[in-house]
Symmetry: C2
Subunit: 408 residues, 2 copies
Amino acid sequence: MFFQTKSLKEAIAIAREHIRPLEEADVVPTAEARGRVLATAVHSPIDLPGFSRATMDGYAVRAQDTFGASEGAPRKLRMAGEVKIGQPPDLYPPLAPGEAMAIPTGGALPPGADAVVMVEDTERSGPEEVLVFSPVAPGTNVMAPDEDLRAGQEIFEKGHRLRPQDIGALLGVGITEVQAVRRVRVGIISTGEELVPPEEEPRPGQIRDINSYTIRAQLEEAGAVPKLYGIIPDDEETLLERSRVALAENDLVLLSGGSSVGTRDLTLTVLSELGEVLVHGLQIKPGKPTILGISEGKPIVGLPGNPVSAMVVCDKLVIPILQRLQGEKERPRRPIALAEMARHVPSAKGRLDFVRVRLIRRDGRLLAEPILAQSGAISSLAEADGLVTIPAESEGLEKGKQVAVEIW
Amino acid sequence: MFFQTKSLKEAIAIAREHIRPLEEADVVPTAEARGRVLATAVHSPIDLPGFSRATMDGYAVRAQDTFGASEGAPRKLRMAGEVKIGQPPDLYPPLAPGEAMAIPTGGALPPGADAVVMVEDTERSGPEEVLVFSPVAPGTNVMAPDEDLRAGQEIFEKGHRLRPQDIGALLGVGITEVQAVRRVRVGIISTGEELVPPEEEPRPGQIRDINSYTIRAQLEEAGAVPKLYGIIPDDEETLLERSRVALAENDLVLLSGGSSVGTRDLTLTVLSELGEVLVHGLQIKPGKPTILGISEGKPIVGLPGNPVSAMVVCDKLVIPILQRLQGEKERPRRPIALAEMARHVPSAKGRLDFVRVRLIRRDGRLLAEPILAQSGAISSLAEADGLVTIPAESEGLEKGKQVAVEIW
């Protein structure tokens, strides 16, 4: 069996090619749908605002009555009353030529009126009259009944992930339920003879399982439903059997490996047994010992054993796979801070490097200080504020170079 | 009553000065503490890894036995067995001079060994012997027992917000519970005679409440516990009474206003009645008609009525207030995309402008196209991919200018 290592981009493309987006959808109350991905396009059921709406505080007028108005020669209009916010426009008699009605922002224009003069361009010359100092064209300071949204207009396309403002927008047109892609189920199997669960006291030679929990939290953050299948000893039969259960119950399975060569070999054997190995080795650092396989259309990823690598591969490869399963569009996911490299970091050509950095403010400049701890050190996970990417074609980052730090 | 409008920065500083962080903490299982803010610093209870751990696959050796080794003159060592991953080091007899043991990454060094030679620098010359082609110093390819973390070492400071990797790190040292700052309770009161709940059919002149739901989702995303108090008619007594209930039950109260001048005036009256008005008007666009007050140490914010303004003010002012209440450090919260302005946008000096933009990829360039719809239009909320900030000292953004788009 011979596999060429792949670039991250190639690996994602291979994964996308082999994976179909989930087709099942849930009906979800819009108010609870934040972070969910739309399974269908959504169209407005109504015209919005649905009536001619003032966008300024002022006076509803017939625009032609204001033509020619100026500071020196204001137009005098008769006050025909006051529009109350929230009242229907047919509550008022039609505005006759030469008449005006006071109107608040958001008020419905009375019949006959076609524009609003801002209060700043007027003066009340008596209880029954108002002077207009500036002409308005029809439609000025008015939102037309279908100006915001037309009935039938697409608001969101299929695959759109709902943000807070989208919840507001959907409820604003009365859409109280949406069809959302079913949340992706992810099974996480820990392998590695040296691992014990966090609540257990490790003997010398053992360490607590970190990766399953970091990965589970990453997946929850990304909107998936992760499930832990416990720590499996390095035994082919047991791992195969447990992987089959996880594959049956999930859309995606991750083998969160121990770091030994034995565990890595075992993961490869099991992935080959379960289906097809698509990628064996990524041209990234950390994260090289990553395996991607597919079993009856379901992706399986063998993650590297060390905590930093596992986390980076989860973010850079597994989350894109998850988004593919959710039918979600690509989108920037992490805050970025622009900083200056605090020191030189070398890098091998042909390999994408992710460098952990600490952000430090010094003399008003933001510095990215590389964390040089071994990638197995969990303290470096805790200390790092973010990652700097060194492209494959680069041989490193010079001290002082301006970099975009992805905040983690 | 005369109030000067404030810059956003001034308003945040004034808010921070008047607000004390919450002092109550919850005991939270670490596995469920993602996004929570630590109420205390956290220290490692143990040395990590707790034993001398191989960081490479290879051979555990006494470093001095390898001194002088080279390709031409390898050192020959006797095989004393194989370290199994997860096994305690005292399982093996101490390594005698001239001996080596095979060891996997993550394995515990046997007593007597003080370094690991990478497998790439060795050759098995027989079942009982291994050739070492390269010398190692003591400690090479070994993580010392307290190299990752020392018992008592601070892992996180008070006020740190737990990220996925932090969950892993804490569980990795056996910390299965943390003290987290109690989540901030936020009461949201809708005002405005024109508003109806989303499930109701508005009459002409009415519109559905959008802002309460957008804001609620924004607050949930930021880790708060928002509660809606319904839509209150524009009536001083009712609004005062409901605000008092909300203040008693929450740490922060938002009046999500209608857009009419009447509602704005009412909000100001009620805030003055309930406590002290600290800021009346922000030098930002959209978002100017914002009011910040304080009542017995609890902040109250009167939000502008139009949906875009309400959302911007929630993100730029309310979330920083929330973070202050949580005792959280400032941190970048949103992804950034670098783009080129697709057209000129003018701006008034002395005012911070937030421009909604759509991101468009054209000829390999990422363009930020300003959305010119009225800030009352909810369609523009749905369409915008992000915001571009025009600083107060600027008079606008030229077409072609490189800008950082905050992704929304």
